[in-house]
């Protein structure tokens, strides 16, 4: 395996909870805000409600070789060991039968691999009202202990379930999360330290670097890090013969002979390697059409029943509840993850309260336990106007990836309708979600990129077989989002994993 492979820093004081980390570290400001205060969010920044902490900086550090320009899109790429999911929040959504429309295989061909991945990585969840939108699979662990706010929300849902189901098409339940509720192998169960965002010190929250470490213990697995693969070379028969890579230690470029190549660099980085290879060989500059991503809307809310309560720092920090606003066609349903506010840095949040900061701090500390956020996802479809291509970078004489995205014309209306329904649902649950606080995240922010070389039953160029084998290069496979022909309003990571295992079993 060739990888740039930036590594996660060792978490300090592994036994400390979030509060103890502030007390027991010599320089807590450096840990939470960074040596150069890079995690400080001052007024004037984009109104996100959280930023990535310095301990996750390694996930987003790019080598100088990777250049891009984006229109209508805010791309995130990762060169970390484990990739972008090193910074995920663990949400595991299986796709439904109907959501696999466009995939050249039915749900039953993917279902066993959801179970297999769940057994390998550990997923906590249960059977509840969301099972009709998230098919049940084997390998689920019992759910994590609920935090107080999430329990209050679920209790309110149980009381008004019929009305919420029938009038609004809204269903609530436990989110399925890749977190251990009991020990698995060398990994320990979640001990509720409240440090999820800063990096789980016990690896109870699964990240792909856990699997990478397992692979590295295998005698047949060779891992070469600090290596940037720019492109591949191929023969006249369309067979890849060599990878061209640069050592980031020495700056020297070398070539590696290959039999079969599996690209899993993420949709954008895999596309860059693919396009660069063709460009270097033939001078041809292709467009990969059909780029997709989930639009996300952040909807903060206040639970009126919990104002004045003390917040619980020793809790699982991320979402424990999910909701679905069902549509007639499941692929148009809207799915959201409900995160109640527990441990978090508050300085990005308080300035959003429409008072002076003194009053804002007063309101915040009395309302903290009552605050929450719904992260609403919207589906996307492949459209020709959204594409990836290469262009010359005038500053460096290298090529750069051009990312072009334009939302479809119905998007604004879909967002308006869904957020109105969401506000009504939250009101029924005893919560107030002010319209003025809602934030439509820029396209690209969800980092659910997909669709540029889709699996297809038709034998066309720039597509893949059902085994994710390229139709342009016979010994090339993709096991990232590149091959997904549709993108429901769900985090796709779990399906990426299941699909990768399916491909490994089918093709290798």
């Amino acid at each position: 395996m060739l990888d740039v492979g930036h590594k996660r820093p060792e978490p300090p004081n592994p036994g400390d909870d979030f509060t103890s980390l502030k007390t027991n570290q010599k320089d807590p400001v450096e840990y939470f805000l960074g040596r150069k205060f890079e995690a400080l969010i001052l007024p004037g920044h984009e109104p996100e409600y959280y930023g990535f902490p310095p301990s996750k900086e390694y996930v987003f550090t790019k080598p100088g070789n990777f250049l891009y320009r984006a229109n209508g899109f805010s791309p995130l790429v990762s060169f970390a060991a484990g990739g972008l999911a090193e910074a995920w929040t663990g949400g595991c959504y299986p796709f439904q039968e109907r959501e696999l429309i466009g995939f050249p295989f039915p749900y039953k061909d993917l279902a066993p691999w959801y179970s297999e991945v769940a057994r390998r990585i550990g997923i906590a969840g249960t059977q509840d009202d969301l099972a009709k939108f998230m098919p049940l699979h084997d390998g689920l662990m019992e759910p994590l202990d609920l935090d107080e706010h999430s329990a209050v929300l679920l209790a309110a849902y149980e009381k008004r379930k019929q009305q919420l189901n029938e009038k609004f098409g809204c269903f609530l339940g436990r989110s399925r999360v890749a977190v251990l509720s009991r020990d698995l192998g060398n990994r320990k169960r979640c001990d509720y330290l409240g440090r999820c965002l800063w990096g789980c010190p016990s690896d109870a929250l699964y990240t792909p670097s856990v699997t990478l470490e397992e692979c590295r213990r295998h005698p047949n697995f060779e891992y070469q890090d600090n290596t940037y693969v720019s492109h591949f070379r191929y023969d006249s028969g369309g067979r890849i013969t060599r990878l061209v890579a640069t050592s980031l230690d020495t700056g020297q470029t070398h070539e590696i002979e290959v039999g079969r190549v599996v690209l899993a660099a993420g949709t954008l980085s895999s596309a860059k390697i693919f396009l660069e290879s063709i460009y270097r060989d033939s001078g041809e500059s292709l467009q990969l059409r059909g780029l997709m991503d989930n639009r996300q809307v952040l909807a903060p809310f206040v639970n009126l029943k919990l104002i004045g309560r003390r917040y619980e720092p020793k809790r699982y920090q991320y979402h424990q509840i999910a909701l679905t606003i069902a549509a007639a066609d499941p692929i148009e349903s809207v799915h959201g993850l409900v995160t109640t506010l527990k441990t978090a840095l508050i300085h990005p949040i308080v300035p959003g309260i429409p008072f002076d900061l003194g009053t804002g701090v007063y309101w915040f500390r009395n309302m903290r336990a009552a605050l929450g956020l719904v992260n609403v996802n919207f589906s996307d479809h492949r459209r020709d106007e959204n594409y990836l291509a290469l262009e010359a970078d005038p500053a460096s004489a290298q090529t750069r990836l051009l990312v072009n995205y334009r939302p479809d014309s119905s998007e604004a209306a879909r967002i308006r309708e869904a957020t109105r329904t969401l506000q009504k649902v939250l009101w029924k649950l005893g919560c107030l979600a002010p319209s003025a606080m809602m934030h439509i995240r820029p396209m690209g922010a969800s980092v659910h990129y997909a669709g540029t070389i889709p699996m297809s039953a038709d034998s066309a160029t720039l597509t893949c077989t059902r085994s994710c084998q390229s139709r342009d290069f016979e010994n090339l496979y993709f096991v990232d989002g590149t091959t997904f022909p549709v993108l429901p309003a769900k985090n796709l990571t779990f399906t990426l994993m299941a699909n990768a295992v399916r491909v490994a079993e089918e093709a290798f």
Partner: protein, 157 residues
């Protein structure tokens, strides 16, 4: 005293006054040092004092917590990217990471839910009053200071 020698003392004064304004306590030395460290970073200080009104508002607000509240209240509506507001958010970030200040930010008042609604409402009303006062105080100052000092006079003709 030249500007560079005066700055550390000014930063300390800001840090003490703003901390009393935000959490009702003086900051510990560690927080003061971090506050000054941030201002010593290349390019930061210039970015935090973009115009004459900004500079005056910072100097005024550092004199007393009440003046800090007035300056911040004005900025909350009419100048959201002001230096005062940025410095206050910086200090809030430092306080929330540092013992013992973060405890103050974590604990709600001990009172019943109706009592809490009353208190929150009272603070919101107080904000409204302060907003009117701050507008009366700072709007003329801002207008006056927005007139360019080096406007061409007779000698320039």
């Amino acid at each position: 005293m030249n500007e560079s020698r005066r700055e550390p003392e000014q930063f300390r004064r800001e840090c003490f006054t703003y901390s009393r304004y935000l959490i009702g306590q003086a900051p510990i030395d560690y927080v003061v040092e971090k506050y000054c460290e941030y201002h010593r970073m290349p390019g930061v200080f210039a970015g935090l004092n973009s115009d004459r009104f900004d500079r005056l508002a910072v100097r005024l607000s550092a004199r007393a917590p009440l003046l800090a509240r007035l300056a911040d209240t004005y900025a909350s509506r009419f100048y959201k990217r002001s230096a005062v507001r940025k410095k206050l958010v910086l200090l809030l970030a430092l306080l929330e990471c540092s013992p013992p200040a973060f405890h103050v930010l974590d604990i709600p008042d001990a009172c019943s839910r109706p009592g809490m609604y009353v208190r929150l409402g009272f603070r919101a009303c107080l904000y409204g009053v302060m907003l009117i006062l701050s507008w009366i105080l700072f709007t003329p100052l801002r207008l006056f200071l927005s007139v360019p000092r080096d406007a061409p006079g007779r000698g320039d003709q």
